[in-house]
Amino acid sequence: MKRWAMLCCAWLAAFAVQATELRDDRGVAVQLAAPPQRIVSLLPSLTESVCALGACARLVGVDRYSNWPASVRALPQTGGGIDPNVEAIVALRPDVVLLAGSSRGIDRLEALCLKVVVLEPKNHADVQRVLDKLGTLLGVRDAPAVWRSIDAAVDAAAQSLPPGVQHTRVYFEVNNGPYAAGESSFMGETLRRLGAKNIVPAALGPFPKLNPEFVVRANPDLIMVSQRSAQGMEQRPGWAGIRAVREGRICRFTPDQSDVLVRPGPRMAEAARLMAQCLADKALP
């Protein structure tokens, strides 16, 4: 069945003139005759990247978790990233579908002769790479400029911090596991660029599930956590002794702010600013 689909798509593609070609994150070469005018995005960070490059108007469908900018909320929702609604996507007649590698719909969508570009930004360098690739795909030439301004804004946020804030030891909790954001995660990288130290070393991976004892032992100066996970943090056994808990140095981010912080996308600068604000407010004695 798959072979027939491949043949069919190859036959159709033979009639197209190769205008744009790029290699996506799978290493697959994707060819398009013209810059796509109808785009479906199944990853919030990719949605935001497309809009940052000024091509928001070309989006015809997004996943249910994409919520920025506000205009995309009016677009038809085609399922989630992991569980896309294939029928809805096909009904929108997109020129290209953007999604992450972990999505289950890739094979199905390709079998239906849709152009699929897999991009999955996981850290700062990825954001630049994804912006470049999207720039190539969309035919937008100032992608590098967009990246430079984002990058510069992050540096500016770092510089805006008062000197005493450097080397604050931070614990970023992602989830109630407790799952922490390590040095090699996106949030960890942002923290590092701001000059703060992460109590979770890179050796433990990007999102390790920690023994709560570890956090108590590490005694962080500041805790960053989403509002939802923050419930009952002070009541966790032994945690009342942690410096950050004792002195009330906990930054609780709203769901919207959490979205900004965890998505490796063009809003990185805003993420850096949010963290810098938190550090400026709560890190100093």
Partner: protein, 322 residues
């Protein structure tokens, strides 16, 4: 027989000091850290034992009540009820932390407990009483599936909720404090006493329902009480530690493989065995990839499952006696 189990318990219990990612002797130099760690490790290990005991007790009751060796404490929909309770609580917390005050105070653990008990009540209503076992089991399956679907619906609404729920459903002994231990100990003692007192019903039921009735036992009342014990024990454990699979299923089997006895003893021994199992799994979860943690449910499955597999293999090799 009882002594063997108790001794094994003590031996492992003495090992709690050497867990964690640091060795215990470094601890003696640092009195403050020592105190903190005792505040975490001791209640956690004790809590794991208590939760395991509750689950083992519930498993023995379930297997006796339904006369089915594959029964586990989550049969009457309590697992799905607890998950749904947590999902609903997460949903409500998300809208505004101060909106529904009593829900906030109840907390996630309270939500899980309420959810579990409500699910069992729903199952009982659907089955119209505890009279017919088959109807009860069927109702339990239905309630489990329906509540599970509701939970899935809620979790799709937000990635946050989905993540938190997955954490809950994997089960964790990580955040057990003295308060949790207290609650579990109180409920555990009550359930154990009640279960032990009602155990003759389970023995009589094993001979057939008509025989049990002919022996003058008030079947409906006792059965209802046993279902109550099941719901309470399961709800208490799930509320504190999330869904830890396999302990309730494996503990009675493990006990039966060592000694054949009446249900009164079986319930007590299953509780001890369950406590042992979960405590061992908790130690392993903490120690194997320190300072990271494995989900404790994975370890209970590995520990309990591999022993049961070995038992099956041994029984098969012997040719399967009558």
């Amino acid at each position: 027989m009882l002594l063997v189990a108790a001794l094994l318990l003590l031996a492992l219990g003495a090992g709690i000091g050497s867990t964690g990612f640091d060795s215990i002797w470094r601890l003696r130099d640092d009195p403050v850290a020592l105190q903190i760690v005792r505040d975490i490790r001791l209640p956690r290990t004790l809590g794991a034992w208590l939760a395991g005991a509750l689950l083992g007790l519930a498993g023995a009751v379930a297997q006796g009540l339904f006369r089915n060796p594959l029964a586990d404490p989550y049969l009457l929909g309590s697992a799905s009820g607890a998950s749904m309770g947590v999902a609903v609580a997460l949903l409500l917390f998300g809208t505004s932390p101060t909106s529904t005050q009593w829900v906030v105070r109840l907390g996630l653990t309270g939500a899980a407990f309420v959810g579990a008990v409500l699910a069992v009540l729903l199952t009982l209503t659907l089955a119209r009483g505890v009279q017919q076992t088959l109807r009860l089991l069927l109702a339990g399956v239905i309630v489990g599936v329906v509540l599970g679907a509701v939970k899935d619906l809620i979790s799709i609404a937000s990635v946050d909720i989905m993540q938190a729920l997955t954490g809950f459903m994997l089960g964790s002994t990580g955040l057990l404090g003295w308060g949790a231990c207290g609650v579990m100990a109180a409920l555990g003692a009550a359930c154990l006493l009640l279960g032990w007192a009602l155990a003759p019903l389970l023995d009589a039921l094993a001979l057939g329902e008509a025989t049990a009735r002919s022996l003058g036992l008030p079947l409906p009342a006792m059965r209802a009480a046993l279902v109550g014990v099941l719901a309470l024990a399961t709800g208490a454990a799930v509320a504190q530690t999330g869904l830890i699979a396999f302990v309730g299923l494996a503990a009675p089997h493990l006990v039966r493989s060592i000694v054949k006895t009446t249900h009164a003893r079986l319930i007590v021994l299953s509780a001890l065995m369950g406590g042992l199992l979960l405590m061992a799994a908790d130690l392993g979860a903490r120690w194997l990839i320190a300072p990271q943690e494995l989900p404790v449910g994975v370890l209970t499955a590995v520990l309990g499952g591999s022993y049961l597999l070995w038992l099956m293999h041994r029984r098969g090799a012997r040719g399967g006696a009558a």
